[in-house]
Symmetry: C2
Subunit: 330 residues, 2 copies
Amino acid sequence: MTTLNKIATEAGVSITVTSRALSPVPKLNMRVAAKTRDHVLAVAQKLGYRPNRNAEFLKRGMNPVIGCFLPSRPDSLLAKLMQGISEEADLQGFPISFHFDMTVESYTDFINKAKSSKNCGIITYPYFKLDHKIEQVVDEYRKVGGSIVLIESVSSQWRWHDCVSVSIDNYHGGKLAAKHLLNKGVSRFFATNYSNIPERIDGFTDAIVSDSKSVDILDAEDISGIVSKIKKHLAAFPGEKTGIFVSREPTAITLLCQLLAEGIKVGTDLMLISFDGLYTSEFSKPSLTTVAQPFKKVGALAVRKLVADIYNADVKSELVKPELIIRKSA
Amino acid sequence: MTTLNKIATEAGVSITVTSRALSPVPKLNMRVAAKTRDHVLAVAQKLGYRPNRNAEFLKRGMNPVIGCFLPSRPDSLLAKLMQGISEEADLQGFPISFHFDMTVESYTDFINKAKSSKNCGIITYPYFKLDHKIEQVVDEYRKVGGSIVLIESVSSQWRWHDCVSVSIDNYHGGKLAAKHLLNKGVSRFFATNYSNIPERIDGFTDAIVSDSKSVDILDAEDISGIVSKIKKHLAAFPGEKTGIFVSREPTAITLLCQLLAEGIKVGTDLMLISFDGLYTSEFSKPSLTTVAQPFKKVGALAVRKLVADIYNADVKSELVKPELIIRKSA
DNA sequence: TTGTATGCGTTATCAC
DNA sequence: GTGATAACGCATACAA
């Protein structure tokens, strides 16, 4: 194991200087001559130095954990997100602890621990929307200087907009869906509303409208209603290529089953494009063309930003673009 | 923060004794009078002691990580498994690092790290089956005394059977499926073969056969063939209640879509029971009755066993029973 | 800009 | 069965 001691000896400087040169804290980094730093860095690289976080954390008096507060809904996007977070946290040498109950108690517990052993951080979905008490707790945490990165914090209007966040560009995702249908020569457009994330529908609609066509927005709650409406439409306009954008994959799957049961040939009679890219989207028949959310990337980014913030580097929010996966349903 | 020092003072004994009394290593535990140990334990409990793993690990000269080697397939079972592992690892104060590429390199990297800083552990799917080189690497790791817990190591015949493992009781799961169909009054039985885990079909078949009925095993690779066979059967025996057991949910979803497209009413004409309990099984129409795998529990168990093994306690393999979730498809 | 000395909480060694 | 003491690798107050 390569320690600061060995590097110091090899480089011919003291441990202190070595420590500073390799410190993740920018302020300390500056307190060593550039030339010395480069030299130390080179030696560290050569010896394959990996900082002993146990020692660092012990000395710093912190028991740093990245607390991740994620939805308990165990879908495959969550798995990807956790993969990204885990791998990056491993790289950074930071332990993580996942929490899947978005209760005030859960947050309070973690934050109390975090206070007594500083330098922890939080990665969380913006559950403040759901429970105002959580907002208060996290708010206080931030005032004490606690680091936090928000995941999927879409709205830019609310008071947390100054928080660092990593989000999916849902608007762009909607546009991708629209463009694909347009490329396919579709001329009639349906979409199901999904109030939680209106950006998806907005992006879709804007792209269609800017092509001088219009979108018929349907009520996502009323699947049967959608099916019968589509059925009537297809009967009335047999020649026209028709497409529907379902901005949420669980809904898309339900709808697909019902359409099939009604004898509608999805992929030919009707183009269906989904949003999410869940694991099972590949296994339906026809398999779903979908706008996939690269949640692994989101997770990795979130960790990187959080760690940087913990060490007082400055960090900016980021918007990650989703990707179109073309399969059989459209 | 409660340290050994505080507990020692409060309990009126030395730090050394306190350390021994609270040690996770059984051998050390025994070197303190039972009476003293109970007292120390009580005080620790009262003060809410949480061991500082950083200090422990630093002293012990280990940089312990639990390396989890899991399938890269990001389905919801995996998410549950990761949840269970994470939460328990958090409780135990052990960092984890997830790996999703089942390559030899991935294992070798981790094991090399693990060697230089002892007391690491591995939780893994038995990928040895897929790549013999992995088997060699892990074998060597075990000879050096490395701790390992296998997940879903079903077969009891192969040479790794002496390894600690946490697995799903697939045979019992198959039986659950059969019993449910029998309870529903089904008298004609189909099942799709799934060679990877024959125990599911075995359990299903045994339960049916012991009720003096028989099962028609169909080729899971040939979904269209299954559909046409079922269709003919339903036409030939319109009165009889018919059921099919699909021992793998991705297949079940594909099959469901095709059945629906053929106008077969799943849940009335045909009872379909699935296996896995993936997230999306709830959203199909009809929603899937399924034998769900409690992977969260599996994850937690695996961690607990691994940590116990790392501290040289003795540990046994465990079989976790799956659970029947009754929905609309059967 | 660099170096010396000290201690974080724990476990291991060795004495009693 | 118990206790004093040293050491793990690192960060930092302070001195140079």
